[in-house]
Symmetry: C2
Subunit: 173 residues, 2 copies
DNA sequence: GGCGTTCTATCTATCGATTGGTAGTTATAG
DNA sequence: CTATAACTACCAATCGATAGATAGAACGCC
């Protein structure tokens, strides 16, 4: 049930942000009462912290070992999960949304967001090392996050796809 | 007073998003009561609509005539206003934040956000036309929006600056 | 100039709904 | 018998929004 609550929270947060869902919303989504949600996650801050933490863990598992991928394949691998979120689920990156709202995000959530960007930055930089001339990781991640933002709001998946393919072309190896 | 209210709303929205401020917050900021804020903006939806509209107008004025700038100068001009927002005011792009929250943004606000991205896309594409090989406008805007997100959350202005300078290097002319 | 009227911008006071959160109870499984 | 996981029934705070009063400025008219 804990996982089901997090699933509902993630789906809502990735569309409308941290302040865009309530305990009652999640309760309805999973078919219990809001007090029962508090049983699993005493405060909203703890819920969001767990949510971001699970998101980081899943991303780490998905990314895998960066030394086992060629630079271009690595960028494609990272892009794929963003494209899927955008096109199949009409969702933003959870940490991208949290970053946008960072000004009034509860204290314990922000560090998890930082960990997320550190994780994929280091992963990408490792994977890109063999490339003769490649953009820095932060450049690529920024482009993907921004392209997701724009694709969603313009209702045009081609924006993200175009940014991804343009990025791939810039990588040798 | 209307402008002062919008100023307060913009400052708060660009840090914490649409659901990150209340009429009472704005009232306190400008030194009146929340009922008086409703006098100027009957609903929060209308307030946010006016806010986004003013943001678009100001950006259009700031950008100016794209045919009067060389490609590289145009990109630098666009980047400058984002860098200033990030470093001097620790703020995101208003429409970038709204885009992230688009899932539960009131109806009339979203079209203004779309107009914003259309505006700068067309402006940039016009300015880039003389360039032999240049990224598409959406690529550049996405990179800047994403870099602002990351710079803010990582508390590192160098991320945005690095993305900007890398982008400038990719433009001939 | 003086007088009534209307407009503007604020106030106090309050509304119903929703928010995050708590206390105490109940049902079930090991 | 205890631990788990749900429930009912609240609470105080805050939310967006409304009603009605008030003070002062601006305006038209004689």
């Amino acid at each position: 049930m804990k996982e089901a609550i997090l699933d509902a929270a993630e789906s809502r947060a990735r569309r409308g942000g941290y302040n865009g869902f309530s305990f009652r919303d999640l309760a309805k989504d999973v078919g219990i009462k809001s007090a029962s949600v508090h049983y699993h996650f005493p405060t909203k801050e703890q819920l969001a912290e767990a949510l971001a933490h699970r998101y980081v863990d899943r991303m780490a598992v998905y990314l895998g070992d960066p030394t086992k991928l060629q630079p271009r394949a690595a960028v494609k691998h990272l892009a794929d999960i963003f494209i899927k979120a955008n096109e199949a689920d009409d969702q933003m990156c959870l940490c991208g949304v949290f970053a946008a709202e960072s000004g009034n995000l509860p204290q314990r959530v922000l560090p998890e967001v930082v960990v997320f960007f550190d994780l994929i930055s280091k992963w990408l930089n490792t994977a890109l090392r063999p490339a003769e001339s490649a953009p820095k990781a932060a450049e690529i991640i920024a482009a993907f996050e921004g392209a997701m933002l724009m694709s969603r709001v313009m209702r045009d998946p081609a924006i993200l796809r175009s940014v991804v393919s343009a990025t791939l072309k810039r990588i040798n190896g």
